[in-house]
Symmetry: C2
Subunit: 210 residues, 2 copies
């Protein structure tokens, strides 16, 4: 009987995401989002308790676009994990500004739970059980989160590598040498190479062939 809402949470999140994509995470403010929508700042508080909740909506919106259906079971399990990891990486890569938000709100996104469920299932089919599976899931999460951050906050080809290359070789012999090779490694190779290492280690643990 009362006045109907003119906005869905998804529309609100979408407006906030648009602000982030356009002006970066630093540009995200209640005022900016309100302007993007064409409402007053305080109107947003009818949809959201505080800024934190708005950020959560954004994370949920982005993760909602991640496909959580299990990949075809005829591939080896480690390859299926790789597909799942790539799906997250690709989705986040389309909105790199939200990376810090993911870390803060990761555990409150229901869509991410769906992703975890699928991954856990694949791990189980790979022969991992009990405590080993707990550790496998957590270390996979840690790697994916860390690698995505590294990729977007300090990319391989970026200034960080440049700094490494220009260090005094006498004091940093290994780093300077490694930096020269770093230029030839793409972001894809880096992500997949590290993931392959982790999966190989989990494989070796169970004694199951890759």
């Amino acid at each position: 009987m009362p006045r109907p809402r003119s906005l869905t949470p998804a529309q609100l999140a979408s407006a906030a995401l648009h602000v982030i994509d356009h002006d970066g995470l630093a540009g995200l403010s209640m005022r900016a989002v309100a302007q993007q929508i064409g409402m007053s700042t305080m109107a947003l508080y009818r949809y959201v308790n505080d800024r934190d909740e708005l950020e959560r909506l954004v994370v949920d919106l982005v993760f909602g676009a991640v496909d959580t259906t299990p990949p075809a079971a005829d591939r080896p399990w480690h390859q299926r994990i790789e597909i799942m990891a790539d799906r997250v990486r690709d989705t986040v890569g389309a909105h790199p500004g939200i990376v810090p938000l993911i870390i803060a709100h990761r555990h409150r996104s229901t869509h991410l739970l769906g992703w975890s469920e699928t991954v856990t299932g694949i791990l189980a089919e790979g022969g991992l059980d009990g405590r080993d599976r707990v550790i496998a899931l957590r270390s996979l999460s840690a790697y994916v989160i860390g690698a995505i951050q590294l990729e977007h906050l300090g990319p391989l080809g970026g200034p960080g590598t440049q700094v490494m290359a220009e260090l005094p070789p006498t004091e940093f012999p290994y780093l300077t040498e490694t930096a020269t090779h770093a230029r030839t490694v793409t972001a894809d190779e880096e992500f997949h190479g590290g993931l392959a290492n982790l999966l190989r280690g989990m494989t070796a643990e169970t004694g199951r062939p890759a």
Copy 2:
């Protein structure tokens, strides 16, 4: 010839760290740090260009406490990597509030470069070269960063696991089952277990025995 400085950068960073340890990262402000020191807010700007630089000082102070000397070479290389990882984890664990600062300022800390140099050297002694070593270093960094964040922003025994355990089992069969085992895994086991997986994978790659 002019008036001498009454503060070292380290003292400034220490005051800021004290604020963070006491009131959390959200409590960190130029005003709060100035009050902690007993100076006016604007006095800080004689030592630091902006808040960002203050944060950088904090990260440098904390990482300065990380021992970067190579561990005794008579241990197997993967064990030496583990020691290096533990040093970072222990140091950050003493000041969990700075975790988000690490991510933002990681690449500008000279002490962290020293840590990377030592780790890279150990990887080299472990038989990793060229592009494999680049990937090994980056995946190690990704894992350590991600795992530390997971540990402090969403610990295993925390509400996240509780949520997982209470999910509808029909929809999340694997997650709910995994959650029951999660209670028995400590933070140490989780961190070392995942790291062991990663190192095993790197070992397998080179064909070198662990």
